[in-house]
């Protein structure tokens, strides 16, 4: 007989082992779908790997795709650390995209435009995240549902803008006018799409890690999440910490939108985010809410997404496999996390 036994502490190597275990389980489970499509499993995963990480150009494409998920992953990780259940990174990303696009369309010197785009995008995301946090602090409204529902509100607001007053008059499609050429984020390597925003995302991760692990605010965020009663007893203003966390989380999600506008699309359209906000939840969980872990987790998902398209062309397996992998990875990681709370013990027949 086996039984689950509560575990008080977890060894450090779990932080690495659990995501790897979850990813391995995901790839094994999804190989069934590849086989169903009549393609070779190893061949398909091989193409996926080569096309996303096999050469330097592929790596830059994967990094471009990873950048928004690094930001949304950080946004979710920070929020979940404080047990502020921000499911609204998608809407905050869209708000950040809209605000930065507004600013980027105003003629001004390039560097100033980029700085103001980032500030506007972060502020817009932060304001959106402040809504569920305020409702929770002031009215005890469940933040899961309110932050989720706000995504739809922001999405329809965006649609109303780009189909209405903000529609690009030179285009037949519902898209916003483009930002100024001078506001386009500089490309760092000639011939690739690797833009400034990707580097900002890569730098943001260690900064947020430092903030969470080494600063007073980070300490307050962690204590509020782990034990709000103790936090309150220790003189921490829990409500204020939740609001600060929401501002930080929303600003990070907003930055994801800034990068997509400034570095990839240069304008806003209805499908500017293929669910990067929800992917942020997958990234944060795979990273075990560690900001440093967010980077490899986001690169993994990005590699799956870029690789899936090449795999589809080469083997005929639908590229939507990447969506299945994403969902499966999240569920597998949640199951793997059980090992942090429990250990499997063999129970002898006599006991």
């Amino acid at each position: 007989m086996f039984r689950l036994e509560a575990r008080s502490s977890t060894p450090a190597w779990f932080n690495l082992a659990l995501p790897l275990l979850a990813i391995a389980a995901t790839l094994v489970l999804c190989s069934g779908l590849i086989a169903l499509a009549g393609a070779g499993v190893l061949e398909s995963y091989g193409v996926m790997f080569t096309a996303s990480l096999g050469d330097s150009y592929a790596i830059t494409e994967t990094l471009v795709r990873a950048a928004p998920m690094i930001f949304t992953g950080l946004a979710v990780a920070v929020a979940f650390r404080a047990k502020f259940w921000n499911i609204g990174a998608e809407g905050q990303l869209l708000a950040g995209a809209v605000a930065s696009c507004f600013v980027g369309a105003i003629p001004m010197p390039g560097p100033l435009a980029m700085l103001l785009m980032a500030l506007a995008g972060a502020a817009a995301g932060a304001l959106v995240a402040l809504v569920p946090a305020t409702l929770r602090v002031k009215f005890k409204v469940d933040d899961v549902v309110s932050s989720l529902l706000l995504n739809s509100v922001i999405y329809y607001a965006l649609m109303a803008l780009i189909e209405g007053p903000w529609k690009d008059s030179f285009s037949g499609y519902p898209i916003s006018p483009p930002i100024e050429d001078s506001a386009n984020f500089p490309v760092l390597i000639e011939g690739t799409r690797l833009h400034l925003g990707v580097i900002v995302a890569l730098i943001a991760a260690p900064l947020i890690w430092f903030l969470i692990v080494r600063t007073t605010l980070g300490f307050r965020i962690r204590v509020t999440g782990e034990n709000p009663e103790a936090a309150r007893y220790g003189g921490i203003h829990v409500e204020r910490v939740l609001l600060s966390t929401a501002l930080l989380s929303g600003a990070l999600a907003g930055m994801a939108g800034v990068g997509e506008v400034g570095g990839v699309h240069f304008q806003v359209m209805s499908d500017i985010s293929p669910g990067y906000g929800y992917s942020g939840i997958v990234v944060a969980m795979l990273a075990r809410l560690n900001p440093l872990g967010v980077v490899p987790a986001a690169i993994f998902l990005a590699a799956v997404m870029t690789g899936a398209e090449a795999m589809s062309r080469a083997t005929g397996v639908p590229a939507f496999l990447s969506d299945v992998i994403q969902g499966t990875a999240l569920l597998a990681m949640l199951v793997a996390l059980l090992f942090t709370a429990y250990r499997i013990r063999r129970v002898g027949a006599t006991s």
Binding site: V144, L148, L150, N151, S152, V153, F320, D323, V324, G327
Partner: protein, 314 residues
């Protein structure tokens, strides 16, 4: 002449409301059962999509509409069981699992659809459900043709509302559902299996979500597209809160939303839209968020919502 035109307008409008409300009513009742037992199911958006896909595919292959509905319902039950396995049996966090189920099910729906039907310039369609007039009742002026000349699935939805209320408030099982959602500890002491009851409620919820998906792809659109659900699952999440976790109120909320949606469609079609139609689509979400703030004082949500139950933890 204008009187006749007005009547057609009215009947068409009422019928449109009923048709828009039907999948929402199924989905909302499904989510309500799950939440009354204490389990938030954010998988609803993806489950509806997957069920719309499997139901459509089964009908497309077999030619039988009811087989398609059955397959959709079974798919919903299966995905409900998956969500219940994670959240009820393993006690994992409900909101994160729900997002996982939505990502997984919608990914699977896209993947399988593309695998089975390939990439076609014109998406394949089926001959969907036809309206079935109910004798005598459909002769009632205005109301008759609007409500009683509908798809069979609409009648099932109309019957499902009192049935859901009866099951929830008048049967021992419904009492168990409410108990495990309000006070699982007390339910456990009273000999009610919290795990089993929650499992059953989430699976029943999944079955209803399956009907919602089936209606979309087999009666409303007669085809499966990637946008066939397009946020209706999230609307249902909002309507359950707006309807205060009650079958009658939730169904009423679905009807109210359908009215707003039908109005916006009509305004768009008539070109009278000074107000962007998105403003109407936003309304249920904004109303629900405001309602949550207002209702928070009298705590109408099931107390144990989002809380996993482990017997050994006291």
């Amino acid at each position: 002449m204008s009187a006749v035109f007005e009547q057609i307008f009215q009947v068409g409008f009422l019928a449109a409301i009923i048709r828009i409300a039907t999948p929402l009513a199924f989905a909302t009742l499904g989510e309500m059962f799950s939440e009354r037992a204490g389990v938030l199911n954010l998988g609803i958006e993806g489950i509806m999509l997957l069920c719309a896909m499997t139901g459509f595919t089964a009908t497309s292959v077999s030619g039988s509409l009811w087989l398609g509905v059955l397959v959709a319902v079974l798919t919903g039950m299966l995905m409900g069981a998956l969500h219940a396995l994670f959240t009820v049996v393993l006690g994992l966090s409900q909101h994160v699992c729900g997002i996982g189920v939505t990502l997984f099910s919608s990914g699977l729906a896209y993947f399988l659809y593309r695998l089975i039907f390939g990439q076609q310039s014109v998406p394949p369609s089926i001959k969907g459900f036809q309206t079935v007039p109910i004798p005598l009742l459909s002769d009632i002026p205005v109301l008759g043709p609007a409500v009683f000349n509908q798809f069979t699935l609409v009648y099932i939805a109309i019957l499902a509302i009192p049935l859901a209320a009866f099951v929830l408030y008048r049967t021992p099982w419904g009492l168990s559902v409410r108990m495990v959602g309000e006070n699982p500890r007390a339910a456990d002491s009273a000999g009610v299996s919290v795990i089993a009851t929650r499992f059953q409620a989430v699976i029943l919820g999944g079955a209803l979500m399956g009907l919602a998906g089936a209606f979309l792809s087999m009666a409303q659109f007669n085809a499966f597209t990637f946008g066939v659900v397009s946020g209706r699952g999230w609307v249902a999440i909002a309507l359950v809160v707006f309807g205060r976790w009650d079958p009658w109120r939730s169904a009423g909320a679905a009807l109210l939303f359908a009215f707003v949606d039908a109005l916006q469609l009509r305004m768009q079609a008539s070109g009278l839209g000074h107000i962007p139609y998105e403003a109407f689509l936003m309304l249920p979400f904004i109303f629900t968020i405001v309602a949550m703030a207002v209702m928070s004082r009298n705590a109408v949500a099931p107390s144990a919502l989002l809380k996993p139950f482990r017997r050994e933890e006291r």
